[in-house]
Amino acid sequence: MARIIINRLVQGLLTLFVLVTITFFLVRMMPGSPYTDEKALPAHILEQLKAYVGLDKPLPVQYLTYLKNLVFEQDLGVLLKKDGVTVSEIISQSFPVSALLGVLSIGIALMVGIPAGIIAAVKKNGPLDYACLAAAMTGICLPSFVIGPLLAVFAGLGLKSLNVAGWNTAADWIMPALTLGMVNAAYLARLTRGGMLDVLNQDYIRTAKAKGVPGWRIVTRHALRGGLIPAVAYVGPAFAGMISGSFVIETIFQVPGMGQHFVNATTDREYFLIQGLVLFYGFLIVGANLLSDLAQIALNPRLRAAA
């Protein structure tokens, strides 16, 4: 067990290192510079600005300085266009917003998707199964930026108290979280159904039935543990999907989270902010994958022996 964790941690660190490196060079290779939008600055002022944040040095030196600051001082750098604002400040302001949105929508996805998948599997090929499958397929094929505006129109018209833009009161959380949650619930329902069907066809389930174990008990005590493995395996990577979804959701519902900052940072060429946000995303994904691996091992003893 400890060996698995250490193994994954090493791989996670390696992943982050690769990510930092790729991002650093991609960002520097983007056409334009942070200062191109400004009214033509006199050359000597531009030089001073660049020297101030170290952009005047050769790329390898910049890269090593960035790594050094990152590792030894946990310093992500500063914003180039807003004086005195650090990348860490932006992240610590916007992360709680994105995290709340993420947790709420994962919660919705789990509460809707997993029961729907279990019911569909138990009632295989019945009307309830087809209803769940059709709903899930619709959820997969309707992009979040179609569901979002539609929900906003219908709910915004019917329930005036639900704000469709902004992030001030708890009522503002409902629409974005619901939109993001629904998309993921659809994937989860399909995976749970598939996983449960695999398990329900196994011999030990037939044995349980033959022994006279009641149907609901077979599902809850015997099948669920194995049947949930694909869904659990999905939740970690789904976290990465949440991020891409939340870019769109944050744009639609004007949520002041990390996604908005990232999209703006790419157009403004805020080098350090892009790098910092990407690293932070990577960090979250590596953490989520680690947790989901551990959860899978907890659910599936065979993985423990293999490791």
Partner: protein
């Protein structure tokens, strides 16, 4: 009395039989054929208007005989825009997936065939890339290849003398093809590697080797044809994901850019004006979602048809 000789079916005929019995998959297949015809042949018809002619006298018109889907905020015909946008969305979906599959096929088969330390290293790299935030990198990468792509456009125009209207719509999409394709090959590489590993120790490969065939010939002529099934299934299922990705990028203003349009762009424009002109969102969304639905149905059907193990469910 000799029994009538039963003619055997090739695996592909067998798969086609299974597929053609699957109603949802066949519906998806015919729907896709229809959508492709409508989007690529439709605009050649005389009654389809230009998607770019602006008519400020008639903005936001309701659907009518003149404008089947109505007009947008600039008075452009929405039906024509949906067809031309569909060309771009389908093209991105198919070409970007093609690039990803090609890279994945080569990487995965080399890794699986050679095995050993190199295989370990190559798969470790895939593991690491797999954990990277995919969308974020696609965005950054597409910005990086933006400038070379526009230089390439100029170069093509200069050397071939073709008109800009013909060249630009394709070459401006290249950053998307390259960005999505060069980051989306990981899953296919894993699938191909696993398949190649199961085949490389089988007798027919041993036989080919003992005949003195080279590695390249063994891999491409004897092993890869057996891998095609799972690759087709995955490709079909990957296209909708990549079309979604294109639309997300376009929605954020980072993918296909005006005056080019795609279903993603039309949906974004529709979403902005949804309260007054709902169909500006509804028609593009309907085309987009039903295409994704059809691709998913076809992909599921192909998986059942080509993978005998799963056909029992």
């Amino acid at each position: 009395m000799s029994a009538p000789v039963e003619k055997g079916l090739s695996p592909w005929q067998d798969a086609w039989h299974r597929l053609s019995r699957n109603k949802a998959a066949m519906l998806g297949l015919w729907f896709l054929v229809a959508i492709v015809l409508v989007c690529f042949i439709g605009p050649l018809m005389p009654f389809v208007k230009s998607p770019t002619v602006i008519n400020l006298d008639n903005p936001g018109a309701d659907p009518c005989a003149e404008h089947w889907f109505g007009t947008d905020q600039l008075g452009r015909d929405l039906f024509a825009r949906v067809l031309y946008g569909g060309q771009v969305s389908l093209l991105v979906g198919i070409v970007a997936t093609g690039v990803a599959v090609l890279i994945g096929l080569i990487y995965g088969s080399v890794s699986g065939y050679l095995g050993g330390k190199l295989d370990d290293l190559m798969m470790r790299i895939v593991d690491i890339l797999f954990a990277l935030p995919f969308l974020v990198l696609v965005i950054l990468f597409s910005l990086v290849v933006d400038k070379p792509a526009s230089e390439f456009t100029e170069w093509v125009i200069k050397t071939t003398g073709w008109s800009r209207d013909k060249v630009a719509p394709i070459t401006t999409l290249m950053p998307l093809f390259i960005a999505i394709g060069s980051i989306g090959w990981l899953t296919i590489a894993r699938i191909v590697r696993a398949q190649v590993m199961t085949f490389k120790h089988q007798e027919f490969v041993e036989a080919a080797r003992s005949l003195g065939l080279g590695h390249g010939r063994i891999l491409f002529r004897h092993i890869l044809p057996n891998v095609i099934g799972p690759v087709i299934v995955y490709t079909t299922l990957a296209v909708p994901g990549i079309m979604l990705l294109e639309s997300v990028l376009s929605f954020l203003g980072l993918g296909v850019r005006p005056p080019n349009s795609s279903w993603g762009i039309l949906i974004k424009e529709g979403a902005d004006r949804m309260e007054t002109n709902t169909w500006l969102l509804l028609f593009p969304a309907l085309f987009f979602s039903s295409t994704l639905l059809a691709l998913n149905f076809l992909g599921d059907g192909l998986r059942d048809a080509l993978d005998p193990r799963s056909s029992k469910d």
